[in-house]
Symmetry: C2
Subunit: 313 residues, 2 copies
């Protein structure tokens, strides 16, 4: 039985997660790791698994060992939607973070089997009513939505690449999204607004009922019809590898909403606290290691600390 | 009768403010203003005047017109401690802010009468038990403390210059300070810690019972024996001139504490909300204009908005 954060719902909902699966080589001021499990779908799914039953969709290549699948499976993640493509190796990324982690360079990227990935859903996934669209091509994100049999609450993430080269497809997609999550520099690229408040408002006018702009170590801001909510980051003092922080945030966020079967303003605010704490664990070790081993008690304690940190009383 | 934000104290305390008085030429992407009233003491005093009776200490030159004194007087500020030095003109600063306001260059600085300023207190100020030491030379800040007749609650601010050239004097001073306010880059300079949480903790170990690290548009963090409090900035969308934001924050902060006669953890947290809102008004116009004309109702409304912005409920 996989341990999860308790929810107040009698009908927790399963969560569909779609994204990349990768091997990463990561270089930071603290060291270097090779061929560690990465990719948006891995981080999102592991993070979400602390809250909800996860249905994962992605593609792995002929070099993807059973031990990695087992890591995901042991967190209760349903892997029926993970396709194995024997024609080549798994998506590979190599990156280097600089002093203070305020900049990273991509040193190598090999799409491999990810280049022809088409996220076709197993029939058992079609009734999902909570969906996380990781930062893949917006046309593939749309393809996922087109297959769903009913109404779903949809969170979408993106990256700067799609804003640059697939802006129209991205704008079409976000009209169909309930919760759009984006970082501050991407929000500026997409809206032309450097002021994060104005950028957040403009993004909501583009369609999504809610928008969260992430500001890294400075926290995140939620823009919602009922109001705005600013949350500082969890005060991390042992930053080791920021890879996957955004994906962990997104995964925990919608995982929490799915587990409560509730996505109103207050529920999103509460989920942001869990998401922030879950992401704070991810960055304290290389790759998925800390995220995977953290346990629910560590998350609960951080959620309490963060609530105290923001309490004026 | 000067209008002030109501306080729950039956014995609001007067506040002693010491700092520079200046004329500023300010260039921003929105325009240019010449010889506007500036200096830390002016901003601190005007901001504090919304909360407490202010006793101001500074020096003005032979070019400082009655109309500027009248602006301060009309906010109920006691000017007995403002010395006029007829030997030369008032301290002058000229600066330019760049696109997005993330960098400013000092184009000209003329110390003038400020060069020989010695903050001797009028006898009527000696019993002050709330004191704001603006960012003047740490030896002059110490000279103010040496004159006080009793125990006082002391807030000190500083600037990067003193960290560079008068670090020892600054370290001696902050041992005597109750609340030390500093921005994030200065905190890094003074402690060698780039992580703001670790820097804040180190600063507390240097003596002050409380430390606030300001992060500009990303808010501020309070480090206190009883806990930590992170507050986002007020969401300003009409930034016009950031000059004086930090001074307004400091002035409103200790002004609120003085008006309540309370400086415990909760009181400082509440005062930070008022300080953030007061500073947010300052930056919406050039110089002191918006700060001076804002009125208590605008501050009250912003304090309510900011409380809503950070509420998870």
């Amino acid at each position: 039985m996989v341990e999860r954060i308790e929810s107040d719902s009698s009908e927790p909902q399963p969560l569909l997660v779609v994204g990349s699966v990768a091997f990463d080589n990561v270089i930071t001021p603290f060291g270097e790791k090779e061929r560690i499990l990465g990719g948006a779908a891995s981080y999102c799914s592991l993070a979400a698994s602390y809250y909800a039953q996860v249905r994962m969709v992605g593609v792995i290549g002929n070099d993807f060992g059973e031990e990695h699948l087992e890591r995901l499976r042991s967190r209760g993640i349903d892997l029926e939607g993970v396709q194995r493509d024997e024609s080549g190796p798994t998506f590979f990324w190599k990156g280097k973070y600089h002093e203070n982690f305020n900049r990273r360079d991509t040193l190598d990227i090999q799409l491999n089997v990810f280049e022809h990935f088409r996220p076709d859903l197993p029939s058992s996934y079609l009734d999902s009513n909570y969906v996380l669209l990781g930062n893949i091509h917006p046309a593939l994100q749309m393809h996922v939505l087109d297959q769903l049999s009913g109404d779903a609450y949809v969170l979408a993430d993106t990256i700067d690449l799609w804003i640059e080269v697939e802006k129209d497809a991205l704008l079409r997609l976000i009209k169909k999204v309930n919760l759009f999550v984006i970082n501050d520099s991407e929000a500026e690229d997409l809206t032309g607004e450097s002021n994060v408040i104005l950028a957040g408002r403009k993004l909501r006018e583009m369609g999504p009922e809610s928008v969260i702009v992430k500001k890294g170590e400075h926290g995140a801001i939620l823009f919602h019809e009922e109001g705005t909510f600013a949350l500082p980051a969890y005060p991390v003092t042992e930053l080791r590898d920021p890879t996957g922080a955004g994906d962990s945030f997104a995964g925990a966020l919608i995982g929490r909403l799915a587990s409560r079967g509730n996505s109103d303003f207050r529920a999103i605010k509460e989920a942001m606290i869990y998401a922030t704490c879950t992401a704070s664990l991810t960055v304290e070790a290389f790759g998925c290691d800390r995220l995977e081993s953290a346990g629910v008690q560590a998350i609960r304690e951080r959620a309490q600390s963060l609530s105290d940190l923001i309490s004026p009383n």
